[in-house]
Amino acid sequence: MDPVIELDALEVRFGNRAILKKLKASLTGRSIGLLGPNGAGKSTLINTLLGFHKPSSGTARIFGRDIRTHAREVRSLIGYMPENDAFIASMSGVRSVRLMAELAGLPPEHALERAHEAFFYVGLGEVRYRPVGTYSLGMKQMAKLAQAIAHGPKLLFLDEPTNGLDPPARTRMIQLIQEIRDRGDLNLMLSSHLLRDVEECCDQVLILKDGNVAAFCNLEEERRANKRFLEIETRGGVNGDFLGAIEQLGCETATGAQGRIKLILPDGLEVRQLYEIAAKQDVQIRRLSHKRDSLEDIFLKAMEAADGRL
């Protein structure tokens, strides 16, 4: 598969301080997550790919085009939703998105139509004639997404898209990102420090730490490879009948003290079936906890590595 983004010993320095340190990676995913703690270099990486910062050495390629030599061409393929508030306060939402679409090269009549479409798409149809400066934080986030997709980019950079959103707005934003991703017309790179956002939207993850690549993994493969661990605490369950019954379903089990059973669920087996067996055997399942999600494991492992590399 052709890489969407190739980092070729990319280094960015601000003064004497190296922010990105010789990053090397080939990102091929349809939806790429960029994870890392605050200050890891996520936004700097996106800004560098956009041409806002000049690499001090090395380079990067987007769809095979070098960001140093083909910056303009690269930007014509990109849609960018910045992390911070970014808007033209005096303009109505639809007018500002139209302006941005025209600057991306769309003829005025197409830009107008797509600006309206983008606003309806992100759910701001009713307020599109209001000045962006009067929008709430959640509406501004959606407006930023609208301007990022209005011109139909091939690659979408989303920098902390769920920042400051309440739970329903966050859910809506994630749904929109998933919809855009699933249509298959564009690739996206989502930068976040929230594991859940990345887990829900991305199939490949690049984890940065102190300007280094701390981990790089294919989330889909990790998910598939990862067995489903459960720990249950039972009353009356550590007896042959209950254990035997769940082993017959294909579970691997290990018993512990105080009725604790650790088990690995095979593919296709639902937790509901455990409850059914327990009910039949008159066993109480007092507590059930899932193993920590795979991305969290990967992330924590990456953060724990002493030299910042896996």
Binding site: F14, G15, N47, L50, R75, P82, F87, G152
Partner: protein, 300 residues
């Protein structure tokens, strides 16, 4: 596709030529400026002086028409000479300063204050194009009240006086054209640079006048205290005036500049100093713009 179809779709239509995209900015800016009643009235009033000038040229060659109402020797009302064109340029250039101090501060400061620069720069649109786009708003407006009517006046005078007069006085036309352009570039760059650095619009507008008047006063103090002429380097009006006189009259100078843009012979600096001073001012403005017009702020 109708707007009610709430779905994302890629764009597969045609694109505008990349060279023309900076013109999108003035188009949107003019729509906004048009909404200001004060600006519209002021702008219309800016054509008053050119109209009066045209009337004076007309009267010079049609004095007999005024004889009907009893006016005698109306053709001697005013001489259409180098002073006439220099004063025309001086008045109109002062109006430029007012106009630029009104329009200029609102050009970049809202984009800087609301981080909109990252949205502009994330597109196939460079910093140079952004500045050109913003600058062209002022260049177009200021051109219409300076060199465009100036050349029309020259044409009117030439129409009445004949081709020989135009040939003999071609420097008036080139002086108006290049002199106005120099001033427009300086004022536009200054307005944009201050707009990029000063977020509060009235302060940025006030600073425009500060650069013109306060710096001139500072220069005069230096001249007075140090008994030198080098303080005139701080006087933008002097620098521009002396350049204009050179453009209008070459080395055979008879005038002392234009109204508001005087370059008296008693505190004259070498000509290269005027050019150097103006180039330095423009360079400082460009540097200020280059430091501020960025897609992302660098925190060192």
């Amino acid at each position: 596709m109708a707007v009610y179809k709430k779905t994302y779709r890629p764009y597969d239509g045609g694109l505008t030529p990349s060279w023309s995209r900076f013109l999108v900015i003035p188009r949107y800016a003019f729509e906004d400026l048009h909404k200001s009643r004060f600006l519209t009235i002021f702008y219309i009033a800016s054509f008053l002086y050119p109209l009066i000038s045209a009337l004076l040229i007309y009267i010079e060659y049609n004095a007999s028409a005024l004889g009907i109402v009893g006016a005698r020797n109306a053709n001697q009302l005013i001489d259409i000479n180098v002073v006439f064109f220099l004063n025309f340029l001086g008045w109109q250039s002062m109006l430029c300063l007012f106009l630029a101090s009104f329009i200029g501060p609102g050009q970049i400061s809202p984009d800087v204050a609301n981080n909109a620069l990252s949205l502009y720069m994330a597109r196939p649109f460079s910093r140079v194009e952004y500045v050109l786009g913003k600058m062209s708003v002022m260049v177009m407006l200021l051109s219409l009240i300076t060199w465009v009517p100036g050349l029309l006046l020259f044409g009117l005078k030439g129409y009445f006086s004949g081709a020989q007069w135009m040939s003999d006085h071609w420097r008036y036309a080139s002086g108006v054209f290049f002199g106005a352009w120099i001033w427009i570039l300086i004022v536009s760059l200054l307005a944009l640079a201050l707009s990029a650095w000063v977020k509060w619009k009235p302060a940025a507008g006030g600073l425009m006048f500060g650069v013109f008047f306060v710096a001139a006063a500072f220069g005069a103090i230096i001249n007075g205290v140090q008994r030198t002429n080098w303080g005139s380097l701080f006087n933008v009006g002097y620098l521009v005036g002396s350049v204009w006189v050179q453009l209008f009259e070459g080395s055979n100078q008879t005038s002392t500049g234009a109204v508001f843009f005087r370059s008296p012979a008693d505190n004259a600096l070498p000509m290269w100093c005027s050019w150097f001073g103006l180039a330095l001012l423009c360079s400082v403005c460009l540097y200020m713009l280059a430091k501020k017009i960025r897609g992302a702020e660098v925190v060192r």
